[in-house]
């Protein structure tokens, strides 16, 4: 609000409640995370060590990447209950062609991702052309894919991937000065994007909210990045899987925030008929969203396979998707993505996955049983959505 162009109306000072339902929507989740971290730090001396925080991040990537892909489908007011099964099937398929047919991982990985995208777009076709609700189509498809996954597995019910080169995805870290270089490139790209927006606003003679639009976003991104990289380099450096997640977050954020495709996702999710009347190809858009969710789920499956050094019945969360499916949906929702479409930003995948990862990691350190973890995660899911509703009620502002 530094400066107001002469012919523009005065920039209205916005109330805190309005900000809570728009720019600062992430605030309650961030505060929640801080509370969780304080709690676990008080319970365990190990929690805040670089080693544990690195582990926590790595443990959160698979669910985070799954949630990121799923977001595209949730934004258009659909759901894909087969993402975990896609994750499992494609990783088993990939392992099979590597182990039995001698494919190089460099070939097998893209094939697996394309297979995931193909499966996703098939369910979208079924949803849009036949008109069966997506939760039915993808529930059925998920079970069918679980069956296929079991068929593809050998007698031993497991393919080991050690020695295939695939394990290097999980074992590689970028350390020392390289880590800082990676961070500098990331911040540089983000700053370039922000500054190019500023440049075009200046060219168009529009006001430039310097503090809010330039200093705060770049400063916050830099501070957050430096903190994370400092913690990670204090242990072993930036794990490759964390870097992959970060790159996906960057690309996803750009697509959702800056491009026409991203805007169409939000438009279709809120009012598909209005979008159609304005010339948006709704069926094509949904197909792309499901393809992205499927392809990204396959990528998450590959990372999971690399971390566990193999695939089996358990891949993709096991039959029915298990906790992987539920945690992926929960992560997106905790992060602020609406199941009714048209609402949610890219940070949802990161924050949601961090909440789930933190609970899991922290309770594990406290020696608490898995049952408790499920109860706490489920409770947090309901709590996150409830807080959102309560803020809407208290402020009378609907958040979008």
């Amino acid at each position: 609000m530094a400066h107001v162009a002469p012919d523009a109306p005065a920039v209205r000072r916005r109330s805190f409640s309005e900000l809570l339902t728009s720019e600062f929507r992430a605030l309650p989740i961030v505060l929640g995370l801080v509370v969780l971290w304080i709690f676990f730090a008080a319970q365990s001396d190990v929690f805040l060590t670089p080693r544990n925080l690195s582990n926590l991040l790595v443990q959160s990537t698979v669910v985070g990447i799954m949630a990121l892909g799923l977001m595209f489908v949730l934004l258009v007011a659909e759901i894909d209950l087969s993402v975990a099964a896609i994750n499992g099937l494609t990783s088993v398929f990939m392992a099979k062609i590597i182990v039995e047919y001698g494919f190089s991982p460099w070939i097998a990985i893209p094939i697996a991702v394309l297979l995931g995208a193909g499966i996703g777009s098939l369910s979208a076709r079924w949803v849009t052309y036949v008109g069966v609700p997506s939760f039915v189509v993808t529930l059925g498809l998920g079970l069918a894919l679980n069956g296929l996954q079991l068929i593809l597995l050998p007698e031993t019910a497991r393919y080991s991937l050690s020695g295939t080169g695939l394990e290097r995805i999980a074992l590689t870290s970028i350390s020392g000065p390289w880590a800082w270089l990676v961070l500098a490139i990331g911040i540089g790209a983000f700053a370039a994007l922000v500054l190019s927006n500023v440049a075009s606003r200046r060219k168009a003679g529009l006001e430039i909210p310097f503090l809010q639009g330039v200093v705060l976003p770049i400063g916050a991104a830099a501070a957050f990045g430096i903190l994370v990289v400092a913690i990670l380099t204090a242990h072993q450096g930036i794990p490759l899987v964390v870097l992959i997640f970060a790159i996906l977050l960057g690309i996803g954020g750009y697509v959702l925030q800056e491009t026409q495709f991203g805007l169409f996702l939000y438009a279709v999710g809120n009012n598909a008929e209005a979008a159609r009347r304005n010339g948006v190809n709704v069926a094509g858009l949904k197909m792309a969203a499901f393809a992205i969710a499927g392809g990204v789920a396959a990528l998450a499956g590959i990372i999971a396979a690399s971390r566990t050094l193999g695939v089996g019945v358990f891949s993709g969360g096991g039959v029915g998707g298990g906790t992987l499916l539920l945690e992926s949906i929960a992560a997106a929702v905790i992060g602020g993505v609406s199941l009714f479409g048209g609402r949610g930003a890219i940070y949802a995948a990161l924050l949601g996955a961090l909440v789930i990862g933190t609970v899991s990691n922290g309770l594990n350190l406290m020696g608490v049983e898995n049952e408790i973890r499920l109860i706490v995660t489920g409770f947090l899911l309901v709590l996150a959505v409830s807080i959102d509703r309560l803020i809407e009620k208290a402020t009378g502002q609907q958040s979008f």
């Binding site: 060219k203 809120n270 209005a274």
Partner: protein
């Protein structure tokens, strides 16, 4: 009663110019429901045509056929005197026919600029993933809104957080953003307060004075229809039953034509 029976909409109004849009003898079924039974309407440059009729008369269906939302079963659709094929919304918008739907067709999670340009975003190159040129869009949006004397409207608030009158204005602004020749408005004043409705009717007249053809569906017979339009087409059960010059008719006469003396007929079909 001064009720004429359905005939060619009067060429007396502006004999000199070809109608911008002329639709004749339109038939439309929804399954077994016969929604349009030979309905007709035409609009000339600078003219405001009102479509009136009881609920279910087929007004919305007729304008949706004009807008390309529904394809007609049969009938004649001329644009500037030439037969055209309009079967989807973009066919109509490419001809210069813009529609403000009864439900406004806005996305409540998007802001005014995003709604104004929806489906026709100003974008950058393909390699950049068709990045939206936000700054230019804002400038164009501000221009249009200023022309509509709505210069103070927020461009960044989600439309869902705005009042009904503001949403109506955004929907109208969207229709004129691309300098159309014809604007169709379905019940533009129905959901508005008295003063907001007044300003919308002023706006409609301003647009007609700039040479646009306007087709308005309205139930506001006694105020808006008789005072702010040029010609009135009365529809009943999917067909035209009367046609008036707005300056030569009273609200009572229009209402009589709408109900056709057959009060109690099940108009819902």
């Amino acid at each position: 009663m001064g009720v004429e029976t359905a005939q060619r909409p009067n060429t007396e109004v502006r004999p000199s110019d070809t109608p911008l849009v002329s639709m004749r003898n339109i038939q439309k079924h929804f399954g077994s429901l016969h929604a349009l039974r030979g309905a007709s309407v035409e609009v000339h440059p600078g003219e405001v045509v009102a479509l009136v009729g009881d609920n279910g008369a087929g007004k919305s269906t007729l304008v949706k056929v004009m807008a390309g939302v529904h394809a007609m079963d049969s009938g004649e659709y001329l644009f500037e005197g030439k037969p055209v094929h309009v079967s989807k919304p973009t066919d109509a918008t490419e001809l210069g026919i813009q529609t403000v739907y009864q439900d406004l067709s806005l996305c409540h999670n998007l802001d005014a600029v995003q709604n104004l340009f929806l489906g026709r975003e100003l974008t950058g190159p393909r390699w950049g993933g068709r990045r939206i040129r936000r700054a230019e869009s804002e400038v164009r949006a501000r221009e249009v809104l200023t022309r509509m004397r709505l210069g103070g409207m927020s461009l960044t608030r989600p439309v869902g957080a705005m009042s009904g009158g503001q949403r109506q204005n955004i929907a109208i602004a969207r229709s004129i953003l691309w300098t159309p020749k014809v604007v169709i408005l379905d019940e533009p004043t129905a959901a508005l307060s008295h003063s907001a409705a007044e300003s919308v009717s002023k706006l409609i007249r301003t647009l007609a004075d700039q040479g646009l053809g306007i087709v308005v569906v309205s139930h506001d017979i006694h105020h808006f229809v008789v005072n702010s339009t040029d010609r009135i087409e009365v529809m009943r059960l999917g067909a035209n039953v009367a046609s008036f010059k707005s300056s030569e008719v009273t609200g009572e006469q229009v209402v009589n034509a709408m109900v056709g003396g057959n009060v109690g007929v099940n108009l819902a079909g």
